[in-house]
């Protein structure tokens, strides 16, 4: 066995460096890691915030009956990717969700990455269920697709399909939860660069920040009434655009179209150098729509600090909506220039 070859972790058969599957037992040779926020079943410790009583049963206060509060914020990291979701200041609960994961091959090539951010549509009951289901199903499908083949576009499409099904499956007789969905897949290319593919339904966004002086750019196009008006020639500052800013034209959920996305919702770039990706819900970009402003705010910070600075910015600006950010460093990237 050479240094570049290894053995299958399942059956110990010899495998070659380029193998995606063990030729002997068929096991997938990729290690998959994933995280998601907000994690369910987490509660704030300590006495009841409403009456000060100390005892809770089934997460309900034994005196006043209030449900124990869940933390306002949840944060997770995997393979350098940072996810933060925050309730914000105005909404009673967090209806956003995010998930991310990495697929390591059996060779020392960079991990492939899948990330998704979902924003529950507040006008639907139990919208958080759709957001959690879609972000988890989307990332799972993308990671499974990446484990089988390093094809970013087909991984994005697999994620969209499973996320749509998962969101629709949260429907029951009395409610039809729905959500936005924005995903990114990052795969290494043979030339040592990376390919980034994004796909979205709704108005959660993906931005790309190459190392300066290259200009940052928004990769996604919102599925919103405002965007349709702008595309039709209306001014971004016009009243009509402002009013329509949050009216979605596409979403995931049982009451959406069967396949509420088209080829124009999927975009691929192949950047030359290092940089970072940002996926976020409108709880952030409402206050920071411009990529250049985001880049300025994050200058000199590492990924975790940048994610938390962005969330704090949205909170300071009013925190009208749930805020979710996912930051993905690309190409041995550690600090924001």
């Amino acid at each position: 066995m050479t240094a570049e070859d290894s053995t299958c972790p399942q059956c110990a058969a010899d495998i070659a460096r380029a193998d995606r599957f063990c030729g002997s037992c068929g096991a997938t040779l990729s290690e998959i890691r994933r995280v998601a926020v907000p994690r369910p079943g987490r509660y704030v410790d300590g006495p009841c915030a409403d009456c000060g009583n100390d005892a809770h049963v089934d997460e309900y206060c034994t005196v006043c009956g209030h449900r124990r509060a869940e933390p306002d914020r949840d944060q997770a990291e995997v393979g350098g990717i940072v996810l933060i979701t925050d309730r914000g200041l105005e909404h009673a609960r967090n209806e956003d969700a995010a998930a991310a994961g990495t697929v390591a091959g059996n060779v020392p090539e960079p991990d492939s990455i899948a990330v998704a951010v979902c924003d529950g549509v507040s006008s639907s009951r139990d919208a958080h269920m759709a957001a959690v289901a879609a972000s988890n199903a989307g990332v799972d499908a993308m990671l499974a697709a990446l484990a089988a083949s390093r094809n970013a576009r087909s991984a994005i499409l697999a994620g969209l399909a499973d996320a749509a099904n998962a969101a629709a499956a949260t429907t029951n007789a009395s409610t039809s939860p729905s959500c936005t969905y924005t995903a990114a897949v990052v795969v290494p290319t043979s030339a040592g660069a990376v390919q980034i593919t994004v796909g979205n339904v709704g108005d959660s966004r993906a931005y790309w920040f190459p190392e300066p002086p290259a200009p940052p750019q928004q990769l996604t196009v919102d599925d919103s009434l405002a965007q349709e008006l702008i595309t039709a020639g209306a001014s971004a500052d016009s009243d009509a655009v402002q009013r329509g800013a949050h009216t979605l034209t596409r979403w995931l959920g049982a009451d959406s179209e069967v396949k509420p996305w088209s080829d124009s919702n999927v975009h691929t770039i192949t950047p030359a150098g290092r940089g970072w990706l940002l996926l976020c819900s409108d709880g952030l970009w409402n206050y920071l729509p411009d990529a250049a402003d985001i880049a300025r705010l994050c200058a000199g910070l590492d990924t975790a600090a940048a994610a938390s600075v962005l969330v704090e910015y949205a909170l300071d600006a009013g925190g009208q909506d749930n805020i979710t950010v996912a930051i993905v460093p690309i190409g041995d990237f550690h600090e924001f220039g």
Binding site: C61, C64, R67
Partner: protein, 434 residues
């Protein structure tokens, strides 16, 4: 719907709309309690051998003499009930007049059922002759006096009468009923049409049993046998519904709504901070539905509160539990929804009330009120699919098929009217929402 299953497998299902509009706090829930055969047969935490005590009270007042055959039918019915006793069940037969007298065993103390004791009891019953008056309170007092020897047992009485409670005041009867509550359960039967539905219902309702008319004495034996079989199928005595509510909440009502309507609100026994217990009587493999209405202090939009925790308790053992949650929302489309089962059972309770009030008005000659109430009852019975009550109503009123308007019948058979009254609390079930 939330569902919880205790260790013993009694399931408690809560069906309600948890969403409340801002500033409101009234929570309605239907709580369905189901005990399966495995549970009822072997409830964990209960003594493996729970004593059973059965008391059969047979009215021996003079009026039982006529018409000919009535008293013989009552004796045959008592024998039929004795025949259904599971061996080992402690039993006693009581002759009810203006006082209560032991028929079998002669000393009055319940004796275990066996082929020999059952035969001896049947012979003793056969020798009974009608001779006195009617004072049902003394009958209940007699049962109360003999069951003290069997604490924690499944204690059940069958009370048969054919007439009014004439030899004691309503206050005396009321006092005896009150003293007997929680001591034993009691099913009441009126034979013929000279007895008072209200009177027997007061007894059966307080003692968590049923009331019915057996208009034809010939039907008594089958009815008694069925009643005793049902009683033999009970395995858990003194089951209670424990209700926890949050601080500042008010329990508006707790009603059994299936198989019959029974308001338990006033039966509450405080059993701790924010906790009250309501007696459910004895249970076998069966399911019953309860409607609980609680007023809680409103919380802010988006907040969630536990409006009630409903536990089914036998002895010290919690057999099952259900949570009634409340979530405040600004979305009126959510808060305006009414659970289908809450709506259905609200209608069934109104139906029972409309029937009773309509019949009461009719007795007092208030034709206008009687017609209006029974019209409403017909509408509710038809709408909700309560075919039993709808059919019984037709014995009392004529319904114009075209307009649906109702007219009181000029000639109403007393038995039809009493059957409608006695069975007015029976409800139609609706399928659980899933």
């Amino acid at each position: 719907m939330s569902s919880a299953e205790g260790v013993s497998g009694i399931s408690v299902d809560v069906d309600h709309n948890p969403y409340l509009a801002e500033g409101t706090g009234t929570v309605d829930a239907i709580v369905s309690i189901t005990a399966g055969h495995d549970v009822a047969g072997n409830p964990s935490g209960l003594a493996a051998t729970t004593d059973r005590v059965e008391a059969i009270i047979i009215d021996c007042s003079k009026s039982m003499q006529s018409p000919i055959g009535k008293f013989d039918a009552a004796k045959r019915a008592t024998a039929a009930a004795i025949d259904e006793l599971v061996d080992g069940t402690y039993f006693t037969i009581i002759a009810g007049t203006e006082e209560a007298a032991a028929v079998y065993p002669a000393d009055g103390w319940p004796t275990p059922a066996s082929a020999a004791t059952k035969a001896a009891a049947a012979r003793a019953v056969d020798g009974l002759r009608p001779h006195g008056g009617t004072a049902m309170g003394t009958w209940l007092a007699h049962v109360r006096g003999i069951v003290v020897a069997h604490p924690g047992a499944l204690i059940h009485a069958i009370l048969l009468t054919d007439g009014k409670d004439e030899h004691e005041t309503p206050e005396e009867l009321g006092e005896e009923i009150g003293l007997s509550e929680g001591e034993f359960t009691c099913d009441c039967r009126g034979v013929g049409t000279d007895w008072q539905v209200d009177e027997l219902r007061a007894i059966s309702s307080a003692l968590l049993g049923g009331v019915d008319i057996v208009a034809d004495p010939a039907d008594l034996a089958d009815d008694f046998a069925a009643m005793m079989r049902t009683s033999m199928s009970k395995s858990m005595p003194n089951v209670t519904l424990r209700l926890w509510t949050p601080a500042g909440a008010r329990v508006v009502f707790v009603k059994q709504v299936a198989p019959t309507v029974e308001d338990l609100t006033q039966r509450r026994v405080e059993s701790g901070n924010q906790i009250g217990e309501y007696p459910l009587g004895s249970w076998g493999a069966e399911d019953r539905d309860y409607h609980v209405q609680v007023d809680v202090e409103p919380a802010a939009v988006g907040r969630e509160k536990l409006a009630a925790r409903v536990s089914v308790v036998a002895g010290d053992q919690v057999l099952g539990e259900g949570l009634v949650k409340a979530v405040w929302t600004a979305d009126t489309a959510l808060s305006a929804q009414i659970s289908r089962r809450v709506a259905h059972y609200t209608g069934q309770a109104e139906l029972a009330q409309a029937v009773q009030e309509g019949l009461s008005a009719r007795k007092q000659g208030d034709i206008k009120t009687a017609t209006a109430k029974l019209q409403r009852a017909v509408e509710l019975a038809v709408e909700s699919g309560n075919d039993g009550t709808a059919k019984l109503l037709k014995g009392v009123v004529e319904v114009d098929e075209r307009t649906g308007t109702v007219r009181l019948r000029r000639e109403v058979a007393a038995a039809d009217e009493m059957a409608l009254d006695a069975r007015s609390t029976r409800t139609a079930r609706v399928r659980k929402e899933t």
